[in-house]
Symmetry: C2
């Protein structure tokens, strides 16, 4: 049996994780709903170092992501974790970008979740899921200005997330049928539109919004993709604001619904668009999305994926 010295022991502690994209809000559930997707995903590698510093490296798809840990979502989450647990520890973080950020797919939150989950494991901290989410969400301030928990929770746990409470953080994960999802990945042109969003939509629309949120939960239990699609197809709160940045959004949405999508909405903070449909409709829906949205100067690609019950997972 090899006896490791302290330096070697530290070097052993590394972990390689995969963190899924997520779509937050999921229609009417602004800041309280999110789902994990099978694809796309990012990977991260975490390794303890003895420099006492957090060092971030980026590989994979080239992107304009800050490497300073004070500006990087995952870096902020790592620091929050170390502060709360009163740990002084240097960490090498490698983010292997496989998905585009700034598209409303929760990619930065996914890295933050993976870091918190990975450190929980390699530092043997035994942190509860709710606390991990509470830590990971602090990084979200860097991207959206508000520590929303929906994306990080969905990335961490997978499945369908209901944020039951923000104070304290109390998150419910529901296993969800693997409904097919077609994504049109579109980078958003503004940093955040959060400040323009208001619940001041009048009482009758608000009741409808709340009823649709309730119907989303019902549809998951009844495994009814048509009800799920209809329930997530509406949103009086975020969709009207965020669709303003997507030319012809409502016309395209109507076309997708005419061609058999059960529900269409905007992913998270935008500007990606997602559609829920039957398995045998995926190609047709993807074609229409490509035809209608690829002319958008911020369009990146179409992804055919599905809802996934897997959150952050270790890559062996």
């Amino acid at each position: 049996m090899k006896i490791y010295n302290e330096k070697e022991r530290i070097n052993l502690r590394e972990i390689h994780l995969r963190a899924p994209a997520t779509t937050a809000n999921v229609g009417p559930g602004y800041d309280i709903f999110a789902i994990a997707l099978e694809e796309p995903y990012d990977e991260i590698k975490l390794k303890l170092n003895d420099s006492g510093k957090i060092k971030i490296k980026l590989s994979g798809e080239k992107q304009d992501i800050p490497l300073n840990p004070n500006d990087n979502t995952a870096g902020i989450a790592i620091q929050e974790l170390l502060k709360r647990k009163k740990i002084r520890q240097g960490i090498d973080l490698q983010i292997i970008k496989k998905m585009p950020s700034g598209c409303g797919l929760g990619t930065t939150g996914a890295s933050a979740s993976a870091c918190v989950s990975g450190l929980n494991k390699i530092l043997d901290l035994d942190i509860s899921n709710n606390e991990m989410i509470d830590i990971a969400r602090f990084g979200e301030v860097a991207s959206g200005g508000f520590p929303h928990a929906d994306n990080v929770a969905a990335a961490l746990l997978g499945g369908f997330i209901l944020v039951k409470s923000y104070d304290p953080i109390n998150v419910l994960k529901l296993n969800i049928p693997e409904f097919p999802v077609v994504l049109a990945v579109i980078r958003k042109s503004q940093r955040t539109t959060r400040g323009f969003i208001s619940y001041d939509i009048g009482e009758s629309k608000l009741k409808e919004q709340i009823a649709h949120c309730s119907a989303v939960i019902n549809s998951i239990y009844t495994r009814n993709i048509e009800e799920f699609g209809k329930a997530i197809n509406m949103d009086y709160v975020a969709e009207p604001v965020r669709s303003a940045a997507i030319p012809n959004y409502y016309r395209i949405k109507d076309e997708l619904l005419d061609y058999g999508a059960f529900g269409v909405n905007i992913s998270g903070g935008g500007s990606s668009v997602f559609a829920i449909c039957m398995e045998n409709q995926i190609n047709k829906i993807a074609q229409i999305m490509e035809k209608e949205l690829s002319g958008n100067p911020n369009f990146i690609k179409i992804i055919k994926t599905k809802v996934s019950n897997l959150g952050v997972t270790e890559i062996s």
Copy 2:
């Protein structure tokens, strides 16, 4: 075989129904949630007559209920049904009051639902549940000024009701575990406080309210009375307005929670108070409610009951 003449045939067409009390809102679900209760209930008898007129008689508990069909909730619902179906028909309606009205227990809506359901049967009209609810709710204008559908739907169908949409009416019934309910029946002092209710509660409270509505649905599927109780224990919309008419409401609520109730809230338009608790806590919770609320000048009685999946049922 006896051959009936037309007059005899008409006289045969009568029906005797039982319609349950309901508690609407069920905490956070203002105008979109309701549950049916096993007790109390009213009965109605419907009989076709050849006078062409709607005649309402009242028996049972003496109460100040209008007998003019234009002012009576059930009378309005009957007229709405006849108008929609283009039927000219005289009807004798006997309402056998077994529960107090004006307490937020949906008693007038229950009569309206029973009438619509009964006429649907004896006139052989084959009306869908959603249309029956849509017809029955028009009577609600007589009591609350707004044709809310939650009470009438719960009385008609039983179980837990989610009003998914008001336009068109689309109601979902969930079978619900028979959670124990203790009711403190208290007559409300004002006719309606609906006009004082507003959703203008700020974004973070609203998100919490929506999340709690979603948690209510989740708790029904998981058959988790503790989660159900916690989810219905809050309401930022109606409870603050309607509790103002119940002296010491929040102190009493805290006491009930301390003694083991999972959730306490106000039934429908008030002023009745209901508590959800475990079977073996019913007597203690009932005692505390009686001690704390029986001094209220509008207090009527304590009822130990439970949630029921039975709606309007025929009494043979």
